[in-house]
């Protein structure tokens, strides 16, 4: 495998307010990386920034390194919109959260889909239409030729998201950025679309950056997960490691806040006895606004493990000294990288 996307020190600010702080991301070809975090953690902003889709004033995107497929997307240390523009579509494509707003209401599905095919596959005439029909079939849509002549408002939410996926596939991207692609859909439809994305990823070997606030969804599609909080990556680990031994207090909080997946004891031994087993735990407080970040570790006001040094310095992302298999008894777990002065190292109880 070779590196497809390399990001070092990505910063995004709106006017003078920084919303993404020094993010590092590396994505191999064909790899799937999930980015998880609450609303406002900067996950969608980072991905839009990579695609060059933020309105450039007021947004400002800077990085130390930003290379895609071996080509730098920077001019100086600013994002080069021209260079990103060249990568869009065939290089990287994006699926949006709300398919109802992501499809142009005044044009038929076929109009846009075939425009993408014409641009990236240089097909004309019947071959063009055949290709469009095949793409719609590939995303599991019934009567594709009928859908080609339909307008977005004539389709259901799930069908709209499938056509949006077909449009991105038409460009044959090597990186697919999916920004909460199932959040706006009904639960059953979301499951189908998720399965479709996982299948397509396996078949085509496209690398994927999957953004979600839902750990469960991410675990079904991704091999590696980065957890974001207040514009920083606070923990990054292979999915197995993250699920067996989440180390950042925030990550543990996310697991505890998920219904029926982990026990409340995951928050740490100090809290165990105060809670009913299987109780749903919310993380106290809320995500700080980017303009008023707490000093030091941004999570410390909400953290049960916080000590005095947490509000003095910002912790950096470091590989954990203790190999996780020592904690969980599982072999072959790769260590996580955590940005925390007091990572939670006790083994969470196994078996829900």
């Amino acid at each position: 495998m070779s590196t497809l996307l390399e990001v070092r020190g990505l910063n995004v600010s709106f006017d003078a307010v920084r919303v993404v702080h020094d993010i590092d991301l590396t994505l191999e070809r064909g790899e799937t990386l999930g980015i998880v975090g609450e609303t406002g953690s900067g996950k969608s902003v980072s991905s839009s920034a990579l695609m060059g889709l933020l309105p450039v004033p007021p947004a400002r995107v800077r990085a130390a390194t930003l290379s895609f497929d071996g080509r730098s997307l920077l001019r100086g240390n600013e994002l080069d919109l021209r260079a990103v523009g060249r990568e869009r579509g065939r290089g990287m494509a994006m699926i949006f959260q709300d398919p109802s707003s992501a499809l142009n209401p005044l044009f038929t599905i076929g109009d846009v889909l075939m425009a993408v095919i014409r641009r990236h596959r240089k097909l004309r005439g019947t071959a063009l239409r055949t290709c469009a029909v095949e793409l719609l079939e590939a995303v599991g849509l019934p009567s594709p030729s009928h859908i080609l002549d339909s307008y977005p408002h004539q389709l259901s939410g799930g069908m709209k998201q499938r056509t949006a996926i077909a449009m991105t596939l038409a460009a044959k991207p090597s990186l697919l950025i999916a920004d909460e692609p199932t959040t706006a859909l009904d639960a059953t439809v979301a499951t189908q679309v998720l399965a479709l994305l996982a299948d397509l990823q396996r078949e085509s070997g496209v690398a994927m950056l999957f953004i979600s606030h839902d750990l469960g969804v991410v675990s079904r599609v991704c091999s590696r997960v980065a957890v974001m909080y207040a514009g920083r990556i606070v923990e990054e680990a292979p999915v197995d490691t993250l699920f067996r031994a989440p180390s950042h207090p925030y990550t543990r909080g996310l697991f505890a806040a998920r219904p029926h997946l982990r026990l409340p004891s995951m928050l740490g031994e100090r809290r165990v006895e105060h809670h009913e087993r299987r109780a749903l735990l919310a993380i106290p407080g809320s995500v700080p606004t980017p303009a008023q970040l707490p000093a030091g570790c941004a999570f410390h006001p909400r953290c049960y493990h916080a000590t005095a040094d947490c509000n003095a310095r910002v912790p950096v992302l470091e590989t954990l000294p203790t190999p996780p298999q020592a904690l969980t008894g599982h072999s072959e777990l790769h260590p996580a990288r955590v940005a925390c002065f007091h990572p939670v190292l006790n083994a969470p109880p196994q078996g829900d």
């Binding site: 523009g85 002549d149 389709l155 449009m167 991105t168």
Partner: protein, 357 residues
């Protein structure tokens, strides 16, 4: 699995379109009835006796009475109204008191000049306002945008008569590059009358001298009349474009690697123009009816000047004719706008979005 698409069948769609058009036409009928009643009432309650004005100092009371009964002005109002409607239905608009010609003939003579001028002004503002609005939105808050907004501010706030006088003073008075007024120079032979639109008639007659002369005469009044509309359009297009460029479907189109001209001029512009079409329709309506000042200053023999002349001499049949014509024009333009929505917006075609009221 997803069900069959909910797309209405083609026949159902056409039935829907037919229903909307029929309803829209039905509304126009009511509009017409309302307008005719209004014009009739207004012109018959204003003080002033048209017959006295007509006969002037020479009118003895007897002559005035004779004239009144000749014109039917001595009959009770409901009867006058009924016969007015009856004549209207047969396209008899009455005889102008001032020109002593059938009003319909007068309108046919004066209206083409206004139509030609207003259409040129509208085309000018479309050609300038839309690109200006797009460029302004794309270069938001940069020098070009500021310049365009200043230009628009001028257009919305500068009085037409002042702009007209400045244009005349400079282009005719100082540099002598444009004519002082009128539709043709004195020494140019008008082309044979077909439509009354000089540009069209001269083209039909293959008379390039007349065409050039007519176009030359149209420049200053078109600029004058079209500036406000250009400014309004530029502002509207800019605002709509900024809104549309922020939409997910535009970010999606860009994210799919479609070229910027295609994204802007095809996918964004169509969405942005949707609300602007209404503005264009209204502007055209007001251009057709509101050219009075421009026509007066450029001695343009159009409907605006005819209306002014008629109101000075209390020429009720003529005034009613003009009012009716303008109302009908507004109706027609609005109808066209509504039909255009049916063509452009599939949601309205399907009855999925709010219907046009």
């Amino acid at each position: 699995m997803a069900a069959m698409p909910k797309a209405p069948r083609v026949s159902a769609q056409w039935r829907n379109v037919g229903r909307i058009v029929a309803r829209r036409l039905g509304l126009s009928v009511f509009l017409l009835i309302g307008i005719t009643t209004m014009t009739f009432v207004l012109s018959h309650v204003v003080p002033g006796d048209p017959v006295a004005t007509m006969l002037g100092d020479r009118g003895t009371p007897r002559e005035i009475a004779r004239m009144r009964s000749q014109l039917g002005l001595d009959r009770p109002l409901p009867l006058q109204y009924a016969s007015y409607l009856w004549n209207l239905a047969h396209l008899r608009l009455g005889t102008s008191i001032r020109t002593r010609r059938p009003v319909l003939k007068d309108l046919a003579d004066y209206f083409p000049a206004t139509l030609e001028l207003s259409t040129c002004a509208l085309l000018l503002s479309l050609a300038l306002g839309i690109p200006l609005g797009i460029a302004s939105a794309l270069r938001r808050d940069r020098p070009l945008d500021h310049a365009a907004r200043l230009f628009s501010l001028g257009g919305v706030s500068m009085p037409v008569f002042w702009l007209a006088l400045v244009l005349l003073a400079l282009c005719y008075g100082r540099w002598d590059i444009l004519p002082a007024g009128g539709r043709l120079s004195d020494f140019t032979l008008p082309p044979p009358h077909v439509t009354g639109l000089l540009l069209v008639d001269s083209l039909l007659a293959n008379d390039w001298v007349a065409f050039r002369d007519a176009a030359w005469h149209l420049i200053a009044p078109s600029i004058c009349l079209g500036y406000l509309t250009t400014a309004t359009l530029a502002r509207q297009v800019r605002a709509q474009m900024l809104e549309v460029l922020n939409q997910d479907y535009i970010r999606m189109a860009r994210g799919l690697g479609l070229s910027e001209p295609v994204v802007i001029l095809k996918y964004a512009l169509k969405n942005a123009m949707l609300p602007v079409i209404t503005v264009i329709g209204l502007s055209y309506g007001s251009l057709l009816s509101g050219a009075v000042l421009t026509e007066t200053i450029f001695s343009w023999p159009g409907i605006g000047r005819y209306a002014v002349g008629s109101s000075i001499s209390l020429d009720f049949p003529a005034l009613m004719g003009v009012t009716l014509l303008i109302a009908v024009l507004y109706g027609v333009v609005n109808l066209c706008v509504d039909l255009l929505y049916l063509v452009l917006d599939p949601r309205i075609r399907d009855g999925a979005a709010r219907e046009i009221e």
